[in-house]
């Protein structure tokens, strides 16, 4: 210290040669690397992926992880968010690079079937057994049953993804007594409610998975299907032309930016009050409560209208599941953590993080007072009940109806945006439906063959 203050010494900067400075830097770097190596703990690390990563959900996951780590001091769990639009790419890259997550939750059932068929997932029958086969709602895990009579995944929740959300106050102001049940009624309602600053609907027209997944529902609500039960391409038919015409007619009731809407934009359009109706799952409840509580008393939902009253409703349930990639290390620890996610205390906490959006799959939960204690679940019992019932009978492209064989190419069909492109060509480019559908049918045949 004294030397440094000595006025006779040259200034510190000029007294240090470049060689010395480089030496110090190199030494510091090496020390940092060594200390980093020394400080890493020896715990087993489990990586957990999920596209469901809203702030409240992250909080509930952290609580689950903390409790699990406390009970298993040799294990560390790291949560890594993925996204509904981005998981196919992340998954492909992870598998190709052999950098696999140990556990993946909230991906759709068709993704699990697809990956299992390619030999990329572990069967999870023993996890189901540990939780208790009879603990699950009847038939909940059937959609994950594989050709070799195992389960490629297990249900972690149910979601009624494409409910029609509406504003009771706006319907009333437009002189409409009941929510629409058919497309004609829906169009009339949107027309009656639309005014400057308020659009009728928040349908997606973007080049993305949401548009594909939502439009598949419209084809079913016209009595059609994408594939026959034995997976022949069946899209080129009248029940596809009709919904295309309807979807095109709805464009004028949607915001200009709907041509780019995906899940977030569509949800926000309704929640913010920019549209009178919305199409989404139960996440609307939490988002309205947090972002636009002024309309919380006026919102409700019903099953999305069909082309005619004679056609039964069809609801898109992505059957969010839990899967375990094959080849990831620490399988026993992973399975233990997977089972721990279903312990009622923490399972309910997860459901409460997205009330009404991720619906319970364990029998005991819907009537559990701890589950019902949630403010939003208590406030919207009719909506939650409807979504729970509707989701239980829902379907997705992985198995369009109970008669359909599992479609192992569903994941790639959605990722190809073939159906979203069909919607855009007809609605945005104003192409005739028939040739556009014929081209899509050809594309689907190629994808099924690939």
């Amino acid at each position: 210290m004294g030397d440094l203050m000595d006025p006779g010494r040259p200034p510190l900067a000029s007294s240090i040669s470049r060689r010395t400075a480089l030496g110090v830097l190199a030494g510091t770097g090496a020390a940092a690397i060594l200390s980093g190596c020394g400080s890493s703990d020896n715990r087993t690390t489990l990586r957990w992926w999920s596209p469901q990563a809203a702030p409240d959900q992250l909080k509930s996951y952290k609580a689950r992880i903390a409790a699990f780590e406390a009970a298993n001091p040799t294990i560390r769990v790291v949560f890594e968010p993925t996204s509904d639009e981005g998981y196919p790419a992340q998954f492909a890259a992870a598998f190709a690079a052999k950098q696999l997550p140990n556990i993946v939750t909230h991906l759709p059932s068709f993704a699990a079937q697809n990956y299992y068929a390619e030999g990329l997932l572990e069967p999870v029958d023993d996890v189901i057994k540990v939780i208790g086969t009879t603990q699950f709602l009847n038939g909940t895990n059937d959609i994950y049953r594989t050709a070799d009579n195992q389960h490629c995944a297990l249900a972690i929740g149910n979601t009624a993804v494409d409910m029609l959300w509406y504003r009771k106050d706006l319907l009333q102001a437009a002189g409409i007594a009941a929510p629409p049940k058919t497309w004609d009624e829906l169009r009339r309602a949107c027309q009656a409610m639309q005014k400057p600053g308020l659009y009728g609907a928040a349908l997606p027209y973007g080049m993305n998975a949401m548009t594909s997944l939502i439009f598949i529902g419209f084809i079913h609500r016209a009595g059609g299907q994408i594939f026959t039960p034995d997976l022949g391409v069946a899209i080129d038919s009248q029940p596809t032309y009709d919904p295309l015409e309807f979807y095109r007619s709805m464009r004028e009731f949607c915001p200009a930016g709907a041509s780019n809407f995906s899940w977030g934009e569509s949800l926000t359009a309704f929640v913010s009050g920019a549209t009178a109706t919305g199409i989404y799952g139960g996440r609307v409840l939490a988002n309205v409560a947090a972002q636009n509580p002024a309309i919380a008393g006026a919102i409700s939902c019903t099953v999305y209208p069909t082309m005619s009253a004679a056609i039964p409703a069809w609801t898109f349930n992505d059957f969010p599941c839990l899967m375990i990639p094959k080849g990831a290390p620490h399988l026993a620890e992973t399975k233990a953590f997977a089972a721990a996610l279903y312990q009622p205390e923490f399972y309910i906490q997860q459901l409460h993080a997205a009330p009404g959006h991720v619906l319970p799959v364990l029998k005991s939960v819907p009537t559990d007072p701890r589950y019902q204690a949630n403010t939003l679940i208590a406030r919207y019992p009719a909506e939650i009940d409807l979504m729970t019932r509707t989701a239980a009978t829902g379907h997705n492209l992985g198995q369009e109806t109970a008669k359909h064989r599992p479609n192992l190419k569903a994941n790639e069909i959605i990722a190809s945006n073939a159906i979203a492109e069909l919607v855009q060509r007809v609605v945005l480019n104003n192409e005739a439906p028939k040739p556009a559908v014929a081209a899509t049918a050809k594309r689907l045949v190629e994808l099924m063959r690939a």
Partner: protein, 302 residues
């Protein structure tokens, strides 16, 4: 003594020097081989196979991927879209970049601050920039539409990203905003080295500001602009993240450039072989441009 030692080792001085040279260059060759040649050969090899991305398992298909690629309208449409995007955004970048460099070369107030701030878009993460621009273009809450409506220029919100040609124009503008600072940096550096005597001579000859720009400044900038255009053409041609995040390639296929198809083939459809075929085709297209450019440059120099 050294000669005796050389004779004893049986190597001439030239041969030893040559060996030493090889030894010295070997690390560079190894590194370049590992990071450039190996990936390039791997990509070419992949393009002749059908490979399932997650497992990287596949089989040889010869030229089938290329036949399918060249036979489909998708490749040619995407190539045209890529060319339109590249030319459009590059033109804007050059115009804005040169104009800004000329402005920052003047003795203006807060010049140093302005020179620092102008680099901001270039340093900003693409993800952040796209988020900001998507909000600006948003039809419900975006300031662009609000501003235009408030000024009475439009009656209803414009669909900036969901309709053509708006979507292409929008991404060109965002691309120009993001990358014009690169042009500014290069041009400004060159402007500072142009001898003042050239301008004085031009003034004596009666040249006005416009003549001085076209007869003095622009010829002096030719070399640096050639390099900038070459580099930015390569970078813009393979631009992925900005376009993917702004429009995802839509509406329909309006902004679907070749890099977006490579990504979708590799990670959406899990067809790594086909993705590699697209990537190699992109490289060949760039190679054609490069060769044409080099030939032209050589002719100009002669």
């Amino acid at each position: 003594m050294p000669d005796i030692a050389l004779q004893r080792s049986g190597l001439s001085r030239e041969r030893r020097d040559a060996l030493l040279g090889l030894l010295l260059i070997a690390p560079t060759v190894l590194v370049l081989g590992a990071v450039i040649v190996y990936p390039l050969l791997s990509a070419i090899a992949l393009s002749f196979q059908s490979v399932y991305t997650p497992t990287l398992e596949g089989h040889w298909v010869g030229l089938a991927n290329y036949r399918e690629l060249l036979g489909s309208g998708g490749f040619w449409a995407a190539l045209l879209t890529t060319a339109i995007w590249t030319v459009g955004t590059l033109t804007l970048q050059i115009l804005i970049g040169v104009a800004m460099a000329l402005l920052l070369h003047q003795n203006i107030i807060f010049r140093s601050l302005a020179r620092s701030l102008v680099l901001f878009p270039y340093f900003l993460s693409t993800v952040v920039a796209v988020l900001v621009w998507r909000w600006l273009f948003n039809d419900l809450y975006g300031i662009v539409n609000h501003g235009l409506m408030a000024a009475g220029i439009i009656d209803a919100p414009v669909n900036w990203l969901g309709a053509m040609p708006n979507a292409m124009l929008s991404i060109m503008v965002v691309g120009a905003w993001k990358f014009f600072p690169f042009v500014v940096i290069a041009v400004l550096a060159r402007l500072q080295t142009i001898p003042e005597a050239l301008y004085e001579a031009a003034r004596i000859d009666g040249a006005g500001p416009i003549s001085r720009f076209f007869d003095v400044t622009l010829p002096q900038l030719r070399e640096v602009l050639t390099i900038v255009i070459l580099l930015r053409t390569v970078w813009d041609f393979k631009e992925f993240d900005l376009i993917y995040l702004m429009t995802g390639g839509g509406p329909v296929n309006g902004t679907r450039t070749l890099p977006l198809i490579v990504y979708q083939q590799a990670f959406g459809l899990n067809q790594m072989g086909m993705a590699a075929a697209y990537a190699v085709s992109m490289m060949l297209v760039m190679l054609v441009f490069m060769l044409a450019y080099l030939q032209r440059a050589r002719k100009a120099a002669a």
